[in-house]
């Protein structure tokens, strides 16, 4: 009996030691340098996404009282995993969030506001679109890391050969009618099976048409923010009611339907210039004249130069120029036991030394405007990347803000996909609106 008790006691001690070793909290011994011991912060991120290990290690070196553990999930499971954090015990200290989902997760109480930890003057320094998409209920939940938008990349070798003069500044940007005419002129081969597409098939998601980030831009550009408030043109530009309560009268306006018809003509009929099925690296491989892509493509093209000259022209528009913004951001979990340290990590890896170094390393765009004077961002003032930066600052709009953006995004993508596949644009938008409104009302 005595032996059994000793064994049981030893087992409990071993178990406790094992549990302590596995704890994400770490809690090393206190030292003069680290009076609270070494704290371990856990970060949930999507695979192949920032914050990259190299910059995390730089941060650890600069903040020696902290170590960082990274948990990874596939990109398309990140939002689902984040949703489930609320139902689980424990969880990460810092969560990578797709920017437009910030309000959704903040409203659900999954995130902590970081206003108390932001550097002085942050609000004046932040890119307006970042400030708009990363706040909820008057509080800020992230600074963002890189800011991203779309550009219309073009194969200059092909456009020159086709005699197409492509604009390279915002004030001379094409309308979609002009852009589609250029794409048709540049396309090589039959519309059904071209050797070179006028516009590269979407590289977003699984490669099928309809991505909200990319394609809702076209619909929203049919709106007009200078039209009378509440008019259909005004509403079309925003894509959702200001209070996020409805999409009726915003996504199914006459202007939106007309834009959806134009959008469908890119995929269907004799005027089509692209495919509703993906073709990876179509632009890089010289199989497309144009590509509506994020700023990351510029980094890739710079890192691995293609065999042709290329440039970036502003995103075309129907009535009003607009580009949707937003990238992956770091936010602090409301369950963290170390809010200050977690906020410091999220801010440093966003707009701090480590964050800006990562942004510059892939020729992306910082979320603060003063960074443009930083020598490492000299590319922001040079063609072709200056086009994207100007877009972010002058045309940038967050994706329609909503505490139900997860559902909105899913439903809008599906609705636009249906239109690209040939469904009646008006009926599709009406169906889409009824589904979105049902989701928004829950």
């Amino acid at each position: 009996m005595k032996t059994t008790g000793v064994v049981a006691g030893a087992s409990v001690l071993v178990l406790l030691a094992a549990l302590a070793a596995c704890s994400s909290d770490g809690g090393g011994a206190a030292t003069a340098e680290c009076p609270d011991g070494t704290v371990t912060l856990t970060v949930l991120r999507a695979e192949n996404n920032p914050p990259k290990d190299e910059f995390i290690q730089q941060w650890e070196k600069a903040n020696s009282c902290y170590t960082v553990e990274v948990q990874e999930v596939p990109f398309d499971q990140l939002a689902t995993k984040t949703q489930l954090i609320g139902t689980e015990d424990g969880g990460p200290d810092i969560i990578e969030v797709d920017a437009p989902n910030t309000a959704t997760f903040a409203a659900a109480g999954l995130l902590l506001p970081i206003d108390d930890y932001l550097p002085a003057g942050y609000k004046d320094d932040a890119v307006p679109a970042s400030l708009a998409e990363l706040g909820y209920d008057g509080k800020i939940y992230s600074t963002g890391m890189a800011q991203t938008t779309l550009g219309l990349y073009y194969n200059k070798t092909m456009t020159d050969a086709a005699g197409i003069d492509v604009p390279t500044s915002l004030d001379t940007a094409w309308t979609w009618d002009q852009a589609l005419a250029a794409m048709q002129k540049c396309q090589v081969g039959s519309a059904d099976n071209p050797d070179v597409f006028g516009l590269a098939p979407s590289a977003f998601g699984n490669g099928t048409a309809g991505n909200t980030y990319r394609d809702l831009t076209i619909i929203r550009s049919a709106g007009d923010p200078t039209a009378p408030k509440g008019s259909s043109a005004y509403n079309t530009y925003y894509g959702i009611a200001p209070d996020g309560s409805t999409a009726d009268g915003y996504l199914n306006t006459p202007e939106a339907v007309k834009a959806a018809e134009l959008y469908q003509s890119m995929y269907q009929g004799p005027t089509k210039v692209t495919s509703n099925e993906g073709l990876p690296n179509a632009f890089q491989d010289g199989k497309a004249c144009f590509d509506l892509q994020t700023s990351y493509l510029a980094g890739n093209l710079a890192a691995t130069p293609p065999s042709f000259d290329w440039g970036i022209t502003p995103v075309p528009y129907i009535t009003t120029p607009i580009t949707q913004t937003g990238d992956m951001v770091l936010a602090v979990s409301s369950k963290t036991a170390h809010p200050e340290a977690a906020a410091k990590f999220a801010i440093d890896l966003g707009i701090g030394t480590e964050g800006l170094a990562w942004v510059a390393s892939n020729k992306s765009f910082p979320s603060i405007t003063t960074a443009i004077d930083d020598p490492q961002f000299s590319y922001l003032k040079e063609q072709p990347l200056s086009v994207l930066y100007d877009e972010i600052v002058q045309w940038g709009q967050p994706r329609p803000p909503s505490t139900h953006f997860v559902e909105y995004d899913q439903l809008v993508s599906k609705g636009l996909q249906d239109i690209a596949f040939g469904a009646d644009p008006k009926k599709s938008l009406d169906d889409l609106v009824s589904q979105v409104d049902a989701a928004l009302s829950r």
């Binding site: 949703q83 099928t208 509703n276 993906g278 249906d418 596949f421 989701a439």
Partner: protein, 261 residues
């Protein structure tokens, strides 16, 4: 738990804020056109898989039951897709069937014909995932039929042949009736399997185009995790279970064995 959840309206983001809605989620199955459509699509999918896999699986089993050189290797090859992950086979077929540069379309365009949108047009998308699923399951069905074939008493078959029955007559009048238990098992197993299919819709077509391949388990996944509607997803899951039970009951009734050996 599933049944309990189906009587509540809530989201994964706020699981504590549950609202009791009685049979409201079940009423939505009948009033939501998307739900009705997804059940119709799933039944069509199940029917398509059955129509392909049962007769082809039987023919493959008859073939594998014969004596020929390399029989073990051929049996292994036929069964290989069954033990391969459905994620792998779905991705493989996706690469084969995609319109832009897919293997099948490369052959088609090589013949001077226009490419086919196997995965993004109606009804080809549904046909494509039916064919892929049937291809993967034929080996399993063939093994089940093979087991049944090998348990048919030789003396009964030989007696029929002595009486002058042709090979076709032996199959239709002796073997098939004696294998009705195996057939019943195959049909029920494949029906339930088809009702549970998820990966082809998820990986190959994303339920499109225009929901034409939105199988019910894919719709359940979407409702629960993409649309924040786990209560409705639970009701759909309960409905699938009930449908599987009813279909199995009906099939048992119609395919009930009249023979014993």
């Amino acid at each position: 738990m599933l049944v309990r959840n189906s009587f509540f309206d809530y989201t994964l983001l706020r699981p504590d804020e549950q609202k009791f809605v009685g049979i409201g989620q079940y009423e939505r199955i009948f009033t939501d056109p998307g739900a009705a459509s997804t059940f119709g699509t799933t039944l069509l999918f199940a029917l398509g898989v059955l129509v392909l896999v049962v007769p082809l699986g039987f023919l493959v089993a008859v073939f594998l039951n014969g004596r020929f050189p390399g029989r073990s290797i051929v049996r292994t090859i036929v069964f290989l897709p069954v033990v391969t992950s459905v994620a792998v086979t779905s991705t493989m077929w996706l690469f084969m069937l995609t319109k832009n540069g897919g293997l099948v379309n490369s052959l088609i365009t090589g013949l001077g014909l226009p490419p086919m949108a196997f995965l993004t047009s109606i009804p080809w998308a549904l046909i494509s995932i039916i064919v892929m699923t049937a291809w993967q399951q034929i080996g399993f069905v063939a093994v089940l039929f093979l087991t049944g074939l090998q348990s048919v008493p030789d003396d009964v078959v030989e007696a029929a042949r002595v009486d002058g029955a042709s090979r076709v007559r032996v199959v239709t009048a002796i073997i098939l009736p004696l294998m009705s238990r195996t057939t019943l098992f195959v049909v029920i197993t494949m029906t339930v399997f088809s009702l549970q299919a998820f990966a082809p819709a998820f990986l190959m077509t994303s339920g499109g185009p225009q929901d034409s391949t939105s199988l019910v388990v894919y719709a359940i996944y979407n409702a629960a995790f993409k649309l924040q509607d786990p209560g409705f997803a639970s009701a759909l899951a309960v409905a699938v279970m009930l449908i599987a039970l009813v279909l199995s009951g009906i099939q048992s009734l119609f395919l009930r064995t009249k023979w014993s050996y």
